[in-house]
């Protein structure tokens, strides 16, 4: 029995990522914070599909009347990972361009747009 431990761990990851977003000023570290939140959420998704003593949900390999874990969350997680790749790549690309213009990655100094 593992109970709710996976969910708690995922929430801790999300909280850690948020803390990174709030406490770090470096733009790259902010992106890393977002990645940590994202991993927490993805793990949460996978964890929702867990079934006690379940096996991989591939019908052709499964013994008859076997318990399988839910396949949908895994498909969702895969989609979400791909989306995460796109957003991360875009954010890092913008960070590079910002650095090229301003020669700094300190978020407190990248505030041309304010007020």
């Amino acid at each position: 029995m593992i109970g709710n431990t996976p969910f708690v761990v995922c929430m801790i990851l999300v909280a850690l990522g948020l803390w990174a977003l709030l406490s770090r000023r470096n733009l790259i570290k902010i992106v890393i914070g977002i990645k940590i939140i994202e991993n927490g959420v993805n793990l949460f998704l996978v964890a929702t599909g867990y079934v006690q003593d379940g096996i991989v949900p591939i019908y052709t390999y499964a013994p008859p009347d076997a318990t399988m874990v839910l396949p949908t969350p895994q498909a969702l997680t895969l989609t979400s990972i791909v989306i995460g790749l796109a957003t991360t790549a875009l954010m890092l690309a913008f960070a590079v361009v910002i650095h090229r213009h301003k020669k700094t990655l300190d978020g407190r100094k990248v505030t041309e747009l304010s007020g």
Partner: protein, 512 residues
């Protein structure tokens, strides 16, 4: 094959695939690319229009992906296992707004963007954003809502930061992307919670199951957080002036449409998904945020010296009116349905009016920037001598937005004032105060930029840009002079779809 039944998915697929084909055509010749874009855009517009007509004449349309027939939403076990598109009157209304703004944006972009600035890629991103918006409007599935949410986020941020040779564009894009991604992750977390509890992702199926347990409430909180961020409700609006101010003008009006699509998704969640456990406290939360958005954004607009940023704060403030109208509706609809319906109608009618009027203003600002290379109110002046049409369009847009009769903003604002007055007179007073502030802001901007003696000699504005602005200006006038027709034929069905039509929405997917 019955093509008509496939119209909802085709409306999403055509711009998605057509958009990715644009760079290929661009490699051969720019004029081929333009031709292809015109083809894709007109086909998508026709499909969206067709779906809207179908919905308004025959009721909610469903489309099941991968089923042997599009109407077969349920698997043999009576469970909606496939991805379902569900288009009701509100979705169709939202799709129509997105399509109108997208077509205008592409007309404008034809001469606004320069070939050497990477026009092909900007057009591609614009088409993808359009596809994402239609997807958000038409989907009947929570996870697809998240996917299209992210599609629009990525395309929108690509457009915001598209001028990489300036330092401001990428900065705005980075901030917006961070906000969009964090908001999107909250939405995904909420979807995971709902999936974990009910084992389903279909909106209609979940709507029938939701009991208002603690997990449901946490999921609602996360969904509200994510979508309120993308809508740009104060205090989550801070990305919006950055993004609206720095994106190229044709992208800004797509961003406006994107914001409104997110507003649509918010309403869909509040009314359709959580309508069974509707709670006046949440209505008051939406009303409160609407008021805050109205007043704070209007105040911030007063001191802006950059024309683009000034109009951007005006755009944020308009979101407040929609939140106010629909929030009042959500608060009272279970006790007084007739009163609630008028409030929701006001909010939804204002979505269309705002899309047209603020779109016109942003396009006029883009024309000023293109003609003079300058947007600082301290340096502009006397543009009315040379840019006659643009001056007229800016005036029409700003008066409409400030709610001056007989232009379109007045009709919807009147509905919102009256319904919020019935809930609490303070709300109506503050809403009118914000309108007055906005009028002052726009008079100031108009006088500063367009009146006075000639200070510089601007370049003429290309005809395609004037045509795009003219379409929206005509829209402002038509919506202002014939509000009753629009409300009766488009807005009322859309408003009814939220509350009275909820059962029809569920039945269209689940049967019975």
């Amino acid at each position: 094959m019955n093509l008509a039944a496939h119209a909802p998915i085709l409306a999403i697929a055509v711009p998605l695939l057509g958009g990715f084909a644009l760079p290929l055509w661009g490699k051969i010749h720019p004029s081929l690319r333009n031709l292809w874009l015109a083809l894709v855009a007109s086909l998508t517009a026709a499909l969206t229009g067709f779906v809207a007509v179908q919905v308004l004449t025959t009721g909610v349309q469903v489309y099941t992906l991968g089923a042997s027939s599009p109407g077969e939403t349920l698997s043999p076990g009576g469970f909606p296992i496939r991805i379902v598109l569900t288009v009701d009157a509100l979705s169709a209304f939202m799709g129509a707004i997105a399509t109108l703004l997208a077509v205008v944006a592409f007309t404008y972009a034809w001469r606004y963007l320069e070939e050497e600035e990477g026009k092909t890629l900007a057009l591609t991103l614009g088409t993808l954003l359009w596809a994402g918006m239609l997807g958000m409007a038409f989907t009947g599935d929570l996870f697809n809502l998240f996917v299209f949410f992210e599609v629009t986020s990525i395309a929108a941020c690509g457009l915001i930061g598209y001028r990489t040779w300036t330092s401001r564009g990428p900065e705005a894009a980075f901030k917006t992307m961070v906000m969009y991604t964090v908001g999107g992750l909250f939405v995904l977390l909420a979807i995971a919670l709902l999936y974990g509890e009910y084992g389903a992702l279909n909106l209609a199926y979940l709507a029938r199951l939701i009991q208002g347990t603690t997990v449901d409430r946490i999921a609602l909180g996360l969904l509200l957080g994510g979508f309120l961020m993308k809508v740009g409700a104060v205090p989550l609006h801070m990305w919006a002036p950055d993004a609206y101010g720095e994106a190229p003008a044709q992208a800004v009006i797509l961003l406006v449409a994107n914001t409104q699509t997110s507003l649509y998704a918010l309403f869909r969640i509040l009314f359709t998904l959580y309508g069974g456990v509707a709670d006046p406290a949440i209505g008051w939360l939406v009303v409160g945020l609407g008021m805050l958005t109205l007043v704070v954004a209007a105040l911030m607009a007063v001191v802006q010296m950059d024309l683009g940023r000034l109009v951007a704060f005006g755009a944020v403030s308009q979101i407040g009116y929609m939140l106010l109208g629909v929030g009042v509706g959500l608060t009272v609809i279970s006790s007084q349905p007739a009163f609630g319906l008028v409030a929701i109608q006001g909010g939804i009618f204002h979505m269309l009016n705002d899309a047209v009027a603020i779109g016109l203003l942003f396009l006029a600002v883009g024309a000023v920037e293109k003609a003079t290379g300058n947007r600082d109110l301290g340096n502009l002046g006397g543009l009315g001598h040379d840019l006659g049409w643009t001056t007229g369009f800016f005036l029409v847009g700003s008066l409409a937005l400030a709610g001056i009769p007989p232009l379109n903003g007045f009709a919807s604002k009147l509905m919102i004032y009256e319904s919020s007055f019935a809930l609490s007179p303070i709300l109506a007073a503050l809403a009118i105060l914000a309108s007055i502030l906005l009028l002052a802001v726009f008079v100031r901007a108009f006088q500063g930029a367009f009146l006075g003696p000639r200070l510089a000699s601007p370049k003429p504005v290309p005809t395609a840009m004037l045509v795009a602005m003219g379409v929206l200006a005509l829209g402002v006038l038509a919506l202002g002079l014939f509000p009753e027709l629009v409300v009766r034929h488009l807005v009322e069905p859309a408003a009814k779809a939220l509350w009275e039509g909820r059962e029809a929405y569920l039945r269209a997917v689940l049967g019975g």
